[in-house]
């Protein structure tokens, strides 16, 4: 322990003294130091002044709505991450590509039917509630949503968090249009229109990939 009569420790100890982080022995030594050294006293007082200024400018926290939105975003990302980890055997982009192709194939099939009665594609809630990742928010671009906000339609666009506990209408006849098929690494989508079969988009191995 330093001699209380000549102790003049490193000035870092003054900050620790202000913060109450010194061991009892060091604390006492610094107090003796302060009695003898006006410069050290001024240093300590300036640090306390800075601490008060810091406290006075403490940022206010967001409101309840912002917190709720943040928690919702965290929850959604954790669900996606958790699902992605369980599906790790296949690259997520490959899964998304196949899923998009399947959706497009369904749409083509529905669109090419000779005016069948309207049929809705629904998702029934299963026994487990772990969502299967079809596509992330970045993989879907909504370019048009007909009658959105109109009082004359009961169609709604669901934007929210899984699980959805009621049948969900994904798309109806003529509501999806295939603009392009983008090859993914290791997979080339190919359009197949065999007689007697619904039109389909199937993955085909990329010959350039090993």
């Amino acid at each position: 322990m330093p001699n209380e009569n000549d102790y003049k420790g490193p000035r870092e100890k003054l900050a620790a003294y202000v913060d109450g982080e010194l061991e009892p022995g060091d604390h006492t030594a610094v107090e003796y130091w302060l009695v003898r050294d006006p410069e050290a006293r001024a240093d300590v007082e300036a640090q306390r002044h800075l601490a008060r200024a810091w406290q006075a400018t403490r940022p206010n926290e967001p409101d309840a709505g912002a917190w709720k939105a943040a928690l919702g975003s965290i929850d959604a990302r954790l669900r996606l991450a958790g699902t992605a980890y369980r599906q790790r055997r296949f690259p997520l982009r490959w899964i998304v590509g196949v899923a998009a192709a399947v959706l497009a194939a369904i749409a083509l099939f529905v669109a090419n039917r000779p005016t069948p009665p309207s049929r809705e594609i629904t998702v029934e809630p299963g026994d487990h509630e772990t969502p299967f990742v079809l596509a992330s928010a970045n993989d879907i671009e909504i370019t048009n949503f007909a009658d959105a906000g109109s009082d004359e339609t009961d169609e709604i666009l669901l934007v929210g968090l899984a699980p959805v506990h009621e049948p969900m209408r994904l798309a109806g006849e003529g509501e999806i249009q295939l603009d392009e098929m983008t090859p993914e690494r290791g997979m080339n989508p190919r359009f197949r229109d065999d007689p007697g079969m619904p039109p389909m988009i199937v993955p085909e191995a990329d010959p350039k990939q090993p």
Binding site: A16, R52, A53, W54, P59, N60, P62, L78
Partner: protein, 201 residues
């Protein structure tokens, strides 16, 4: 403070909440978020200087911390570890978006987009407007190195002890002490330059 709020047996520990979260209990996530969102936000806000970016960093930090629970060895508390992850996320975000550029924009719009004005428990700077003082402090913080800024904010804003900061950043207590002292010296020097505003640090 009442004894009940401190030691209530009904209040689950962080470890219990993490176990519940790992088994799929989303209520545990909500409780962990409610418990630590405040200090996490304040740390991110101090490091970034903008509220919206701070919320982004908080979200990023929570997601990273909870998706990498396997790397949390329990050497420190969950709070300490979470704040480390949040502060790293904030620093990353700051580097990506250019903190100085954001601060100059902040100055131009004079605090637009704030959630509110900070409380003023005590006014140590007569003659200096609160927003001015905060902007000066933000600017002074931006002048510090990432390591000094992170150390200082974790201690001064999140209230982590020297030991906790050392654990969070995997450095010695002596290094914590040194960084804090020199960070304060530089902050004081910057604030003293504003003597025209009536402040003497």
């Amino acid at each position: 403070m009442s004894a009940v709020s401190e030691v209530s047996p009904l209040t689950p520990s962080d470890e219990q909440l993490l176990d519940r979260f790992a088994s799929g209990d989303r209520g545990a996530l909500e409780e962990l978020f409610r418990r630590y969102r405040g200090p996490a936000y304040r740390v991110a806000q101090r490091l970034l200087g903008q509220e919206a970016d701070a919320l982004d960093a908080v979200q990023e930090g929570f997601v990273k911390a909870l998706t990498h629970l396997d790397t949390f060895k329990g050497r420190s508390s969950f709070k300490t570890w979470l704040l480390r992850v949040v502060s790293n996320a904030a620093l990353d975000l700051g580097r990506q978006r250019g903190r100085r550029e954001m601060l100059s924009l902040n100055g131009a719009v004079s605090g637009d987009g704030d959630f509110g004005h900070p409380s003023r428990p005590e006014n140590p700077t007569a003659g200096l407007e609160q927003e001015d003082l905060r902007r000066i402090l933000d600017g002074a913080l931006a002048d510090l190195s990432d390591a000094q800024r992170q150390t200082f904010v974790l201690h001064a804003e999140a209230g982590l002890s020297y030991r906790e900061v050392a654990d969070a950043l995997d450095i010695s207590i002596g290094t914590v002490m040194s960084r804090l002292y020199y960070a304060r010296q530089r902050l004081r020097a910057r604030l003293s330059e504003q003597s025209s505003l009536g402040v003497d640090f």
